[in-house]
Structure formats: structure tokens, C-alpha cells
């Protein structure tokens, strides 16, 4: 026998289930309970940088949209600063960096509005290309899935990004690139997430 280490074990994950909206987005579940729902305003009114809309679908292994998913986004501001004491620098008043969206129950489409983040420091003096960290939960997802949305037009920064370059299969890297378009003056990035099957999105163990 040896001495016992006294670390605790992390609480195991369980699926968020079909009624995740009740807890985390009750307005969408069909009732009004809180004065303020959280997560609908990511950037706030004072953030500098390019205003963008991010939209997409979450698609399951049969090719069908997942209509009961909840996504959370976590991102830096346009200067590459997260609103957290362990990120060096300041963020604008009202910049949350965090958002929460659910899909349309009929179509599975989700979307949020924010600003395009800047590059952030990577490990060992490297630089990470602009990206939005995403976390996806739903019925049938036993533990939240982490991925990153990168911007396809950031060609040079993406080519040097240490996380993208960690992905050995170059073909799979494209699953992390959101496609830019201009819809009547609004910049839209399209990011479909494939849980399984052809072009399965890269998910990370962070």
C-alpha cells in the first residue's frame, strides 16, 4: 500500500437533456421568470472592432439538424483580451465575452451577434489566430463538446496558429473555419458543426 492522495474527483457530467432551455434560457422554453436572462449580449455597446453575426447549424450523424442544442461562446475582444484577471489588458465597459444561444426549435438554426476577436497569446511565446471558443450541450451529448471557431479570411494567422497546427489531419482543419459573407452590409460568418460523419468537426479535450 501507499499513501492516499487526497485529491477530489471531478463531478461526472450528465447530459443537459431536452429541457435545458428551462434552466438556461427560460424565455425560449415558453415562460418568463427572470428579470434578466444571461448571455444574449456578448460584446456590449462600447466594444471596438468589426461587428459580425455568427450563424450555423449543429448536424447529427444522420445529416439532420439538432434542434434542441444550446451553445455557449467565449471570446476575447478586438485587442485579444478576455474580460478576466488572468488575461493581460483591459476590456471595454460592458464587454462580457460570453454568450449563450439556443437553436430555433423548428429549423435548428442558431445565431449570435458579437465583434470579431483579436489574436491572443498562445503558449511559449506563440500567437493564436482570432477564434471564438464554443461549448455545445444537448440531449444525447453526455459531456459538453468543446470546439473553436476560426475565421477563414484570417489566412496568415490561421496558418501560424499553434492549435490548428496541432491537428495532424490537414483536411480536418477546415472544419474549424467559418465562412465569411456580406449580407446587405452585415458581415456574417457561417459555421456549421457536424457532430459525426463526413467532415466531423474537430472537438477538443481542453
Amino acid at each position: 500500500m501507499v499513501q492516499k492522495l487526497d485529491y477530489l474527483k471531478e463531478t461526472p457530467s450528465q447530459t443537459a437533456g431536452p429541457y435545458v432551455h428551462i434552466g438556461l434560457a427560460p424565455g425560449a422554453a415558453g415562460f418568463d421568470i427572470y428579470e434578466r436572462e444571461l448571455g444574449w449580449d456578448i460584446a456590449g455597446p462600447n466594444a471596438t472592432g468589426e461587428r459580425i453575426r455568427v450563424e450555423g447549424l449543429v448536424i447529427d450523424g444522420t445529416g439532420s439538424p439538432v434542434k434542441d442544442v444550446l451553445l455557449e461562446a467565449w471570446q476575447a475582444n478586438a485587442e485579444g483580451v478576455y474580460p478576466h484577471p488572468e488575461s493581460a489588458g483591459e476590456t471595454e465597459e460592458g464587454f462580457r465575452g460570453w454568450g449563450r444561444v439556443i437553436t430555433n426549435f423548428e429549423t435548428g438554426e442558431w445565431a449570435f451577434e458579437t465583434i470579431k476577436p483579436g489574436s491572443t497569446p498562445g503558449r511559449n511565446g506563440t500567437t493564436q489566430a482570432p477564434h471564438i471558443n464554443l461549448w455545445i450541450v444537448a440531449r444525447g451529448i453526455n459531456i459538453g463538446l468543446n470546439t473553436r471557431l476560426y475565421f477563414e479570411d484570417e489566412t496568415e494567422a490561421n496558418a501560424a496558429d499553434p492549435v490548428i497546427n496541432t491537428i495532424e489531419w490537414e483536411k480536418r482543419r477546415a472544419t474549424l473555419l467559418a465562412k465569411r459573407s456580406d449580407k446587405d452590409g452585415q458581415i456574417v460568418y457561417r459555421f456549421d458543426i457536424r457532430l459525426q460523419g463526413e467532415n466531423e468537426t474537430v472537438f477538443f479535450d481542453i
Binding site: 471531478e10 426549435f105 466531423e200
Partner: protein, 242 residues
């Protein structure tokens, strides 16, 4: 400012795997490739922060937060309380804990729930709170009922409260479910059984806590939550280079 250090790697053999055949919805929603392992960067060690301006004091009282004036929901009145700790046993203060659940009859207030048990006009079924400086949280609510669900023909969910916890870094983000001591449905549930080990399942079962009851008023269950812990910085493996 202390030098940020990594979170301990998640023990993926302790958590449920993505693909669990007997929980049928997972079959088409589980990635088939292995996850790509990332060493933590500033993107993972930081995370959103919440304050008392984000929520209202009544938000943790599910007996009151949706009830008509002078009324309260039907059901066994409970206090659900505990601490949020990290794997080092340290409290996680000022972190947002959100909870949602069915009413005492097993029915959710959700447009997609069609179970024949009735909606309780005085029960919304969601609450939220911030842990205090010692990582302590509590909710007042009614004990949720078991409910049937479509998986096998005759599956029933044990009584449970869904819980969402943030921690201080996005790497700690967690959703889980709290079960209640003595429920015979726990051992039968395909969602519970997505978790490989009995010890891990046991850690999701809240204990009857008679010391925390309010006599003649409210019974209590204790549910501690553990989030990922972080390396110390004795020997630095610095995230941001030298």
C-alpha cells in the same frame, strides 16, 4: 498577478463516453474521432464572471420565484445545498450555479414536454445563485417527481435536478444532474448508466441531511460539486513563455 497554470487533465474514464448505446439519442450525436488534446492557453483558463447584479436574490428560491402571491407549489419542500470545490479541495467562490427540474409530478414547464402529469401553476422549475466566499450555495425547492421518457419502452428518470456550474475558467464548465438518496430508479436509468463506475455514480447522489432541515417545515439534501483543479506553480510550465 500569479502565473496561470493548467487545469488538471479531465479524467475521461470517469466521465461518460460520448457514445453510449443504451442511451439511444447519443448514438447519432457522438463524435467518432478522438478528441484532440489541447494544452491550456489563456482561452481555456479564463472564463465568464458573474456578479450579484446579474441575478436577483429570489432566483434561488423555486418555492417562491414563480408562485402566485400567497401560494406555493405542491410537493415535498426541500433545501438542496452544498459546496462547489475544486479537485484540490479548495472552495470555488462567486461562481454561478443554475438549476432546473420537473415539478413534484414529474412535469417540466416546457413547451416540448407532453407528459400527462399536470403543470403546477405555482412552479417554474428553474433557479440560479452565486456561491459565497466559501463556495457554499443553496436552493429551496420541491422534490422533483420521476417521469417516463422514450428510450426503451418503459424507462423512468429517477428524481433529479439538472445543474450547470461555471467555475473560473471555461475549461471547468460542467453540466450534471443531482439524484436523491434512496431512489430505486437510479440503478435502472440508462442516462445514469452512461457513467462507467459506481463510485462516480454515487458522487451524483445527494445525501439526506437531517442537520440542515428546518423542523416542521423543509427537509434537506446535501450535494457537493467538484470542478477541475489547477496545477500549482512550484515548477513553472508557463503558458505565456519566458
Amino acid at each position: 498577478m500569479s502565473t496561470p497554470a493548467e487545469y488538471y487533465q479531465r479524467d475521461r474514464e470517469w466521465h461518460p463516453p460520448a457514445y453510449t448505446h443504451d442511451y439511444k439519442t447519443s448514438v447519432a450525436r457522438s463524435p467518432q474521432y478522438s478528441l484532440i488534446s489541447l494544452e491550456n492557453t489563456v482561452s481555456e483558463i479564463t472564463g465568464p464572471r458573474f456578479g450579484h447584479g446579474d441575478i436577483d436574490p429570489i432566483d434561488n428560491d423555486l418555492i417562491l420565484n414563480y408562485a402566485q402571491p400567497g401560494q406555493s407549489p405542491i410537493g415535498e419542500r426541500i433545501i438542496l445545498h452544498g459546496r462547489v470545490l475544486d479537485e484540490n479541495g479548495r472552495p470555488v467562490p462567486n461562481t454561478l450555479v443554475e438549476a432546473w427540474q420537473a415539478n413534484a409530478g414529474g412535469r417540466y414547464r416546457h413547451k416540448k414536454d407532453t407528459y400527462l402529469a399536470p403543470i403546477d401553476p405555482n412552479f417554474g422549475g428553474c433557479g440560479r445563485t452565486l456561491t459565497d466566499e466559501n463556495g457554499y450555495y443553496f436552493f429551496r425547492t420541491v422534490k422533483p417527481g420521476a417521469y417516463p421518457w422514450r428510450n426503451w419502452v418503459n424507462n423512468w428518470r429517477p428524481a433529479h435536478v439538472h445543474m450547470s456550474i461555471f467555475g473560473s475558467g471555461f475549461a471547468q464548465r460542467l453540466i450534471t444532474q443531482c439524484y436523491f438518496e434512496g431512489d430505486p430508479l437510479i440503478a435502472k436509468c440508462p442516462i445514469v448508466k452512461t457513467i462507467p463506475s459506481q463510485a462516480a455514480i454515487d458522487s451524483l447522489v445527494a445525501a439526506l441531511d437531517l442537520n440542515a432541515t428546518i423542523p416542521l417545515d423543509t427537509i434537506a439534501y446535501k450535494f457537493d460539486i467538484v470542478l477541475r483543479g489547477r496545477r500549482s506553480t512550484l515548477f513553472e510550465n508557463r503558458l505565456e513563455g519566458n
